[in-house]
């Protein structure tokens, strides 16, 4: 199951966040800070999956932007890793034209993916 979806830049600022489980606001900030710290501390030749607390993080870097997805142990890491890429490809396709599509697609994409 997907717990959250984050886009964070290298400076550690959240650019987009979506939580599929309720997390309190102040905890979100803490979580995001720690998550990005974890991702930034890893080099390119280390694997893209991190065990973090009682769940896992799958991250992918696009230039200065990190996309991080929090999943629980039932999820297939590689499938989520590719889901991120799928998401980015769709963004690429739609972005310049219809921004509203992103939010639509975004929610659909995850509803159809969230177990």
């Amino acid at each position: 199951m997907i717990k959250f979806f984050l886009m964070v830049n290298k400076q550690g600022q959240t650019r987009l966040s979506r939580y599929y489980e309720h997390v309190e606001l102040h905890k979100r900030t803490l979580l995001e800070a720690e998550v990005i710290k974890n991702c930034l501390s890893r080099s390119k030749d280390q694997c893209s999956f991190i065990e973090y607390k009682d769940f896992k993080l799958v991250y992918r870097q696009y230039a200065a932007l990190f996309i991080v997805v929090g999943i629980n142990e039932t999820e297939n890491e590689m499938a989520v890793y590719e889901l991120i890429h799928n998401f980015v490809e769709v963004l690429d396709k739609y972005f310049s034209r219809v921004p509203i599509m992103i939010s639509c697609l975004y929610s659909n994409n995850n509803v159809s993916k969230t177990t």
Partner: protein, 991 residues
């Protein structure tokens, strides 16, 4: 969209110039934030400002200002809906940055209610982002949703369904359910799909409310639109996870769907990098795995399609790896088929040996999953595993340790535990520590090769795990020490070594230990320090404990443990000076607890007999008889009542009264009595405050007794602590092969089974092993030792008794010989009143009651078999953490079932017939029961003619004891009566 650009004119003048200046330059920046937002211009300003604001304080200042402005705007009555939409987008952005904007929530709901399409959309989006399931404002949304669901505008229906599938109050489901059900027949596929998604949400939050539409899910599964079908798979995955046996008939449908997907029959839109609908495939593979588990017939149906999936996924792309991983998992989950297993193993090999790190991780994960069923694979990849153990990436290391944990046995435990401890020393992460520490503790208890090693490992566990580890670990450890094992001498040595080791640790002046560790130490010293009396002075021990009491880092809870230890030692050594000093010192302590302990100690010291009586030597395991009903206070209560005191009211009654007084407003919606009655599914029976008093409450209503008993039993029975003997499950037909493998040196084993290129490498290793390689191979031989040989042992029908050091006195296997002791055991402790009725009569009575406690088989047929065996049951069901004692179960034709807190009913389903051969007399539960957590069937007693097995099943509301009566003779059974004697069957024990 261009017309939105000029729309920011409502902003307060003081922010305006700044924002608009920034706006021109930083158009790029907003890319990433637009995901949340509907229209471009609205967020430009705030997004750009914060984008520029590198410093957090600057950002905070800006956002706070923005929020103040927004607050004023949204609450102004003149604000138009259009403007409100803008505000919502801004609020979403602020919340995303972590600034609360709860003042806008209600306006989001209003916007969803009143706006035109776009505004409504933003309103719904804001609601789904702002609120959570239990938010009280969510109820206000229900009306809007109902209205939109009935709208003729498709977009509105879609929006309503979307928001329902994301967030909806559980208690309001009945209000929209019929509407959503109707949408399943809608002509537009997007509506049907969203309706299925909404129902999935309902299934997750309130499964019993959608029970009646299960057949409609089937329709959705067969929908001509792929999207609808895919959506319904989520529901099925969830339902099959909970009850796989109910959906076996759908296996063929799932197989057909997967075949079509794999065969590329779906529209090309579903392809991802030319792989057809990969996530759908993964979903289907998971479902198949759940369906085929332990079911040869169902598994057979899916062999072909799994083979096909493996074959089709041969393109080298990440997404095919993901599918392959899922495939491998499914193949190893379902009933095994040799050639599929071989292919899957090959696949794992490819993963593990891959230079791509992500694939390696996936391979290790698969290997960890597979290893329990096929330890051969670990042998094949041992060198890779060793390399991963020293991998620079800690995540890979961690995964490898997980794998090693699964293959631990008595021979490699020291090496593996050492590796785990090494990892722990580098790790700071709390969750990792908790997790690994409990694994180490488990392994140490299971496989410890020597006392010294065990104690030292546990010391490491306690010092590293400190106060974050699971409280079960110290409890189990102490229990292990206290209860001992088969050998009295061994027990003594272990305890002695523990005492010595702790004394050594306490000797160090400045060492600081975690509280839990100190508690363990003080308990052990208190209980067992007498063991070293020959060589150690109790005064020394007490001085050390005394010193601890004065340390500032010791918490008051730990101090209580230490005081208890001192009291115990003091009772063995009367007239100790340290005790006197201690009493004096703490009698005037400011800490009231300490003062209390000191006084208690003082009084005890004055009454030596009482002290000896109260603190007997080495009696921590003895059961204490506690009169939980407090019947000895009856006189006191009666006296109080006669003096006019108010009678005692149980807690819940008091609360009810309080509630009824307070309840002035009715918060429940009218006309929804259905939902409220459905949601209160828990039992509402009266609960007596006396807790566990089975004895003194005989007159009480029997269902209540049962419930009480079950709830208390269930609590204890949750943790299974002493289940497995070794790590290897029984295996067939593979030992020969493994033995061979074991005999070959590790290097060549590797080479022989290598899948790809490293073959030559491996050969080289054998020819000229460098120093480093030698070291690794040595490590390999220590790590993987015993993997194969263990198997052989377990094949012969014996658990690996030789490798497991610490074992409970009562083993399951011992009970099997109990038929040799056919003496009738009397249990005289409590009177159970046997009913002078015929059993049939009894059964009738009991069947009429609704609460089912105990399933009992009662066999009868033409011929009478006079079977009268009796047995004592030594196994105390310790493995369930539950000390339910059924000490005497006597079989005799004339005895009767008599017990006031158990009920018996005839099995509704015939228990699977047991074959005639003795070997196969192990019974199995019916499917319905097997889906619940249950213990293994344990043989209670047996004779040449009869065997009785017991199995515990924990269902939602009760504990079922299932008794299997098997007839080993050729003659038929006519009548079997089982008697449970005495009413002390269930005792809840506390350590």
């Amino acid at each position: 969209m261009a017309h939105f650009r000029g729309l920011a004119g409502w902003r307060c003048p003081n922010t305006r110039p700044r924002v608009s200046r920034k706006r021109r330059g930083a158009f790029q920046g907003q890319r990433s934030c637009v995901g949340m937002v509907e229209n471009r211009s609205s967020v430009h300003s705030s997004a750009n400002v914060t984008w520029k604001a590198r410093e957090t304080w600057e950002e905070e200042k800006l956002i706070q200002q923005e929020l103040t402005n927004l607050k004023a705007t949204v609450s102004a009555p003149t604000t138009t809906l259009r403007l409100m939409k803008e505000c919502m987008v801004r609020l979403i952005y602020c919340e995303m940055l972590g600034y609360e904007s709860s003042f806008g929530y209600i306006h989001a709901i209003k916007l969803a209610q009143q706006g035109n399409l776009l505004e409504k959309r933003v309103g719904y989006l804001a609601v789904s982002l702002f609120l959570h399931e239990n938010h009280e404002l969510l109820l206000l949304l229900v009306n809007t949703v109902v209205k939109d669901l009935q709208s003729t505008n498709l977009v509105e229906v879609c929006m309503a369904l979307t928001v329902v599938s994301q967030i909806f109050p559980r208690e309001m489901i009945p209000a929209v359910l019929p509407l959503i059900e109707d949408k399943l027949q809608h002509s537009k596929e997007i509506i049907r799909r969203k309706a299925v998604q909404a129902l999935y949400k309902f299934y997750l939050i309130a499964p019993n409310q959608v029970q009646h539409i299960h057949d409609k899910f089937r329709k959705a599964l067969c929908d001509r639109d792929v999207g609808v079908m895919a959506a319904s798979l989520h529901i099925y995955l969830q339902m099959i996870k909970e009850n796989s046996s109910g959906y076996k008939d759908l296996t063929e449908s799932f197989v057909t769907i997967l075949k079509q997907v794999v065969g590329g029959k779906l529209p090309i839109d579903f392809n991802y990098h030319s792989v057809p609908a990969p996530w759908l495939q993964i979903q289907l593979l998971r479902i198949l795995g759940l369906l085929g588990k332990d079911d040869p017939r169902t598994s057979e149906l899916m062999h072909d399609v799994l083979d096909e999936s493996l074959r089709r996924a041969e393109i080298n792309h990440n997404i095919t790896y993901a599918i392959l991983f899922e495939c491998v998992q499914t193949i190893y989950t379902i009933y095994p088929k040799p050639d599929l297993l071989e292919k899957a193993a090959k696949c794992i090999g490819k993963f593990v040996l891959s230079p791509k790190i992500n694939l390696k991780y996936l391979g290790l994960k698969a290997l960890t999953y597979v290893i329990q069923q096929d330890p051969n694979l670990a042998l094949q990849h041992q060198m890779t595993i060793i390399e991963c153990l020293d991998h620079p990436d800690p995540i890979i290391k961690r995964e490898t340790l997980e794998l090693l944990y699964r293959i631990t046995n008595g021979q490699n435990v020291t090496v593996i535990v050492q590796k785990m401890l090494d990892y722990l020393k580098q790790s700071k992460e709390e969750y990792t520590i908790i997790n690994l520490v409990s694994k180490i503790a488990e392994l140490a208890e299971k496989y410890a090769p020597a006392n010294e090693w065990f104690i030292q490992t546990m010391n490491a566990v306690f010092s590293i795990g400190g106060d974050v580890m699971h409280p079960d670990i110290p409890n189990n450890f102490l229990r292990l020490l206290a209860e001992g094992f088969d050998d009295e001498k061994e027990d003594k040595q272990l305890r002695l070594y523990a005492v010595q080791s702790y004394l050594g640790l306490l000797e160090e002046e400045d060492a600081i230990y975690p509280q839990k560790f100190l508690q363990v130490m003080s308990w052990v010293l208190g209980e067992y320090s007498y063991l070293i009396n020959d060589e150690g002075d109790p005064e020394v021990i007490m001085t050390r404990l005394h010193k601890l009491l004065k340390k500032t880092f010791v918490t008051s809870e730990t101090k209580a443990w230490i005081m208890a230890a001192i009291t115990k030692i003091a009772s063995l050594n009367p007239g100790s000076k340290t005790v006197d000093k201690l009493i004096q010192e703490f009698s005037t302590s400011l800490d009231t607890c300490m003062r209390q302990y000191a006084f208690e100690l003082k009084h005890l010291c004055e009454d030596k007999d009482l002290m000896k009586n109260l603190l007997p030597l080495d009696a921590s395991c003895d059961d204490m008889v506690v009169d939980a009903s407090l019947s000895f206070l009856d006189g006191f209560v009666a006296e109080g009542l006669s003096r006019g005191a108010a009678p005692y009211k149980p807690h819940h009654q008091r609360q009810e009264e309080k509630l009824s007084q307070e309840k002035a407003l009715n918060f429940e919606p009218y006309g929804l009595s259905l939902s409220s009655s459905m949601s209160t599914s828990g039992f509402t029976g009266r609960q007596s405050p006396t807790g566990l008093s089975f004895g003194s409450d005989i007159s009480g209503n029997s269902t209540e007794m049962g419930q009480k008993e079950m709830s208390s039993l269930k609590l204890d029975g949750v943790k299974k602590l002493w289940g497995k003997d070794g790590y290897l499950p029984k295996k067939d037909s593979k030992t020969g092969k493994e033995d061979k493998l074991e005999a070959v040196p590790p290097g060549s084993t590797l080479g022989g089974n290598m899948v790809d290129h490293p073959l030559s490498e491996a050969d080289q290793e054998v020819v000229s092993p460098s120093e480093e390689e030698k070291e690794k191979q040595q490590l390999a031989s220590t790590l993987f030792v015993g993997l194969a040989s263990n198997n052989a042992v377990s094949l012969m029908g014996k658990a690996d008794t030789t490798t497991q050091k610490f074992k409970r006195k009562s083993k399951i296997s011992e009970t099997q010989n109990s038929e040799e002791v056919p003496s009738i055991q009397h249990d005289a402790t409590l009177s159970s009143s046997p009913l002078p009725e015929a059993q049939s009569n009894n059964n009738e009575n009991i069947q009429s009651t609704e609460h089912v406690r105990l399933r009992k088989t009662s066999l009868s047929s033409s011929e009478v078999l006079e079977a009268s065996i009796s047995f004592k049951r030594p196994q105390s069901l310790m493995e369930a953490g539950l000390d339910a004692k059924l000490p005497d179960c006597r079989l005799s034709p004339s005895s009767l079932f008599a017990d006031n807190n158990m009920e018996v009913f005839q099995p509704t389903q015939v228990i699977p017939s047991v074959a005639a051969s003795k070997a196969s007399l192990i019974p199995s539960l019916s499917e319905e029961l097997a889906s619940n957590p249950h213990s293994e069937a344990v043989e209670l007693c047996s004779s040449d003619t009869l065997a009785v097995n017991l199995c515990k099943v924990w269902t939602d509301d009760c504990l079922l004891l299932v008794l299997f009566v098997a007839n080993r003779s050729s003659s038929a059974l006519k009548n079997v009566n089982l008697v449970f004697e005495n009413s002390e069957h269930f005792k809840v024990r506390k350590l």
